[in-house]
């Protein structure tokens, strides 16, 4: 029997209050396993186009999940994740184009650099006790400054960015002619991050984060060091985001500021989590499915410029009005209530 507690959100509180189903107990793991199986077999049924949609879906879900670590679990609204994504991409592309280092290794460096940046930004922000909207603004400001600097840097190609030459496909250089290979890489990453989320929700670290999220003051009185835990979550989140940037840059074969950095990218990263339900394991994935699915469907019917965008905005508005805690928590609660009635 599964219990779901719904937490009531305090009105007018500038902090973040989230649904309590982070314990992961509500996640239907067996069902997920079946979906994973279907996902693995998908390439045999779907062609290049289907694979490309799959890639978009998977990396959106992955990025949203990575962001969820610091936002949903630790409760810190970060808008710097666009920067981490971009840093991961720039690092691996630069290392490859300059020194011929394999993107797989470059990916690791990208993650480390991202983590270091997060550590710095986090240390300063949390030391100065920036929370809620202020933390968000600080991370946004930092990300924008980084974007301007990269956009002006000669070494990083300025506005044109860096380009990778197309070569004969190979695993070592992470180049493939068929999108299904990228699909598998992202699928593996997605499955991996689901396990990370699972670990997080059951670990003591996750418990400490949840306590901090609900109330920093109370958490402190319980002997938890909020600054340290938040910093760890932030760094972990950044380290997880960066590799997606690296892989995606290999998919596009280039990296440039408008596509990989900036507020638009940051917003695109977080939307699936917001819509699907932050603080839950499945939320970001479901949010990604909905958003990517809707965008795809709309592109088949779009008649005038702006219509599909309009519909997209309406989806966001409606999702907040109808399912304010996110799609997954709302669905999950409804299902649990149904079962409880039996």
């Amino acid at each position: 029997m599964q219990k779901v507690e719904s937490s009531s959100s305090a009105p007018s509180e500038p902090g973040i209050t989230l649904p309590a189903s982070i314990s992961g107990k509500g996640t239907p793991w067996i069902f997920l396993g079946l979906i994973a199986l279907a996902a693995i077999l998908a390439p045999t049924v779907l062609g290049r186009y289907g694979m490309t949609i799959g890639i978009t879906l998977l990396y959106s879900a992955y990025l949203a999940s990575a962001w969820n670590v610091v936002a949903g679990y630790a409760g810190q609204l970060s808008l710097a994740h666009g920067a981490f994504f971009g840093v991961g991409a720039y690092a691996s592309v630069y290392f490859y184009t300059q020194w011929g280092i394999s993107p797989w290794i470059g990916m690791v460096f990208g993650a480390l650099i991202s983590g270091a940046i997060a550590a710095g930004l986090g240390a300063v922000s949390f030391r100065y006790k920036l929370t809620g909207a202020y933390f968000a603004i600080a991370t946004l400001a930092f990300a924008e400054i980084l974007r301007v600097l990269i956009n002006s840097s000669q070494y990083l190609g300025q506005g044109s960015g860096l380009v990778i030459n197309l070569q004969e496909p190979g695993w070592w250089i992470m180049q493939f002619n068929d999108p299904k290979y990228f699909y598998f890489i992202f699928l593996t990453m997605m499955i991996g991050i689901l396990f990370v989320m699972r670990w997080l929700s059951r670990s003591r670290f996750g418990y400490r984060l949840a306590a901090i999220r609900e109330s920093e003051i109370v958490a402190e009185s319980l002997g938890i060091n909020p600054r340290r835990e938040k910093l760890l979550a932030f760094v972990l989140s950044a380290i997880l985001v960066a590799p997606a940037g690296s892989v995606y840059s290999q998919f596009l074969l280039f990296v440039d500021p408008p596509t990989f950095l900036g507020l638009t990218v940051a917003v695109a990263i977080i939307l699936p989590a917001l819509v699907g339900g932050t603080g839950t394991i499945l939320g970001p994935l479901i949010g990604a499915v909905v958003l990517v699915g809707v965008t795809e469907l709309l592109s088949h019917f779009a008649l005038r410029p702006g219509i599909s965008l309009f519909a997209y905005g309406m989806i966001l508005i409606l999702s907040v009005l109808l399912m304010p805690r996110g799609i997954w928590p709302t669905l999950h609660d409804a299902w649990v209530r149904r079962r409880a009635k039996k």
């Binding site: 009105p11 007018s12 922000s125 930092f142 410029p305 309009f310 999702s319």
Partner: protein, 294 residues
């Protein structure tokens, strides 16, 4: 190329002019954030709405001068803001930050998409013929339309401040800002007070757009450029503080212009956001007192 003192003074003039407009946008943003406790992403789109309103009233069949158009414009924008609040925003007032964010983001997208559907993406301008382009004083100059925008923006911002400070309505808003439910208990109608606040904020933001129309090239996404500066001004000027937003706006305009003159236009954003970061580290509550209202 002479980089004498006038070179920098001109930058100061330019920055001031921009600062005035930023101030007006920041004032309305801080009003919304301070009173409604709402982080409104759609704020930038309201500027764009004001611009296109000006364009519509300027073209046939109306043919109204953009400055005269402010009179019907303010009323129309007020009404639009009221409808937006009562129809949509009131429902998410008690929602957590993240949800409000998503909602206002959706609103931003919907507004901009609507404008794209109507006016497409062609760059448009409101061209006032027959008005001298600039006013020169010595080595310095200022564009007439910018000067008008600057003065009008500050006047409007000042009016809002005065209204909040000295009128009955203003007191009601301040009370509602501190605690809407308690205010309701003493007879201040919560919903209409908040609606009023949002409506005048919309009018202010839209007015900024209308003042900008004569010298800014408009397209559906033009509002984004002002969001950053307005945010920065709000943070610097302390959330909820009108005077602070005003000062913050001017400071941001100056910093932007001076920074651009020093390092190049493409570094403008870095300066504005750099200011924000420094402010957040040194004095997160802003330069002014952390009180809602004035």
């Amino acid at each position: 190329m002479g980089y004498d003192i006038y070179y920098w003074l001109q930058a100061v003039v330019n920055g001031l002019m921009n600062g005035g407009v930023y101030a007006l946008i920041a004032v309305s943003m801080t009003l919304v954030f301070g009173v409604l406790r709402l982080v409104n992403f759609a704020h930038g789109a309201l500027v764009t709405v004001g611009m296109y309103l000006s364009l519509t009233l300027f073209e046939a069949p109306f043919g109204i001068n953009p400055y005269l158009a402010l009179i019907p414009g303010l009323a129309l924008l007020f009404g639009f803001g009221w409808v937006l609040y009562v129809g949509l925003l009131d429902r998410i007032m008690k929602a957590p930050l993240l949800m409000q964010l998503t909602f206002t983001l959706g609103l931003l997208v919907v507004l901009e998409a609507s404008m794209e559907m109507i006016w497409h993406n062609d760059p448009r301008r409101v061209r006032i013929v027959g008005m001298a382009s600039r006013i020169e004083f010595g080595e310095l100059y200022v564009s007439q339309s910018r000067l008008i925008a600057f003065v009008a923006a500050l006047v409007l911002a000042g009016l809002f401040w005065a209204m909040l400070r000295y009128t009955w309505r203003g007191a009601a808003i301040s009370a509602a800002a501190q605690n809407p439910d308690a205010a309701q208990l003493v007879g201040i109608p919560r919903r209409s007070t908040l609606a009023f606040t949002f409506a005048i904020a919309t009018a202010a933001t839209g007015a900024a757009g209308m003042l900008l129309a004569p010298f800014v090239t408009m397209f559906p996404y033009v509002g984004h450029s002002f969001l950053g500066a307005a945010f920065a001004a709000m943070v610097i000027g302390t959330e909820g503080n009108i005077l602070g937003a005003l000062v913050g706006g001017i400071l941001v305009g100056l910093a932007e212009a001076l920074g651009a003159t020093w390092m190049g236009d493409n570094y403008k954003d870095a300066f504005v956001f750099g200011m924000v970061l420094i402010m957040l580290i040194l004095r997160p509550e802003g330069l002014f007192r952390a009180k809602s209202g004035v």
